[in-house]
């Protein structure tokens, strides 16, 4: 293991990057899915029906968690860079806020 891997913040930085890559892959697909509305409500409904499959639901949940993690860890970076927050406090805060957002996002997804 390289020395940098043991530094505080490494796991946070790695999660931030991996979640960012996941979102970059997901976004074009999300845009394509929304654009099915160009063919009318029935076409969008056919897509929404697909999202009710268990595997798709699981993938949806994964991307929601990735969004929560990426946003929270991004706020952590901004706080460290622009507001001089201490790393240790932020590590704990990041985990808490990420958990809250993840739960909240999943709840919203299931609201329908």
């Amino acid at each position: 293991m390289r020395a940098s891997h043991t530094q505080r913040g490494f796991i946070a930085a790695m999660l931030h990057r991996l979640s960012g890559i996941a979102l970059a892959i997901f976004l074009p697909l999300h845009f394509l899915a929304l654009a099915t509305a160009l063919n009318g409500a029935n076409a969008l409904d056919a897509f929404l029906e697909l999202t009710r499959q268990p595997l798709v639901k699981f993938a949806e949940w994964g991307i929601v968690v990735a969004l929560a993690v990426h946003m929270t860890l991004g706020l952590r970076v901004l706080a460290i860079e622009f507001f001089d927050f201490h790393e240790k406090t932020l590590a704990a805060l990041s985990v808490c806020v990420a958990a809250v957002f993840a739960v909240g996002f999943v709840f919203i997804l299931n609201a329908g």
Binding site: G20, I21, F31, L32, L44, D45, G74, G112
Partner: protein, 108 residues
């Protein structure tokens, strides 16, 4: 990372933090009373304010994502230089095109 790319990345991060929060509120609104496409589109079509909001969202994403990917690719792979920058400009344009198309489909 150049100062311009650094500032663009951070500025769009601020915008996206606000936009994602608003996006959640919009999802809550959209799924209220059921998630049928007809109901969603009936609420969204013709809403100029939301169309502008999501237009800004798409622009911020199209700037933010390629700059982040550029840093990751440069650090984790030997790929760099003009071909990498060109590929990421194309990815940015790809996101812009698909994003605007989606906004048009839902809000126009």
């Amino acid at each position: 990372m150049s100062p311009l790319l650094f500032m663009a990345q951070r500025l769009t991060a601020f915008v996206l933090a606000l936009a994602v929060s608003a996006h959640l509120a919009t999802i809550l609104y959209a799924v209220r009373g059921g998630l049928s496409a007809g109901e969603i589109l009936a609420r969204t079509h013709g809403n100029v304010a939301f169309m502008l909001f999501y237009g800004v969202f798409v622009v911020a994403v199209a700037i933010h994502a390629p700059i982040g990917l550029r840093s990751i690719i440069r650090e984790w792979t030997p790929w760099r230089g003009r071909t990498l920058d060109l590929a990421l400009v194309l990815f940015s344009l790809f996101l812009l095109a698909l994003g605007f198309r989606a906004v048009y489909a839902v809000y126009a």
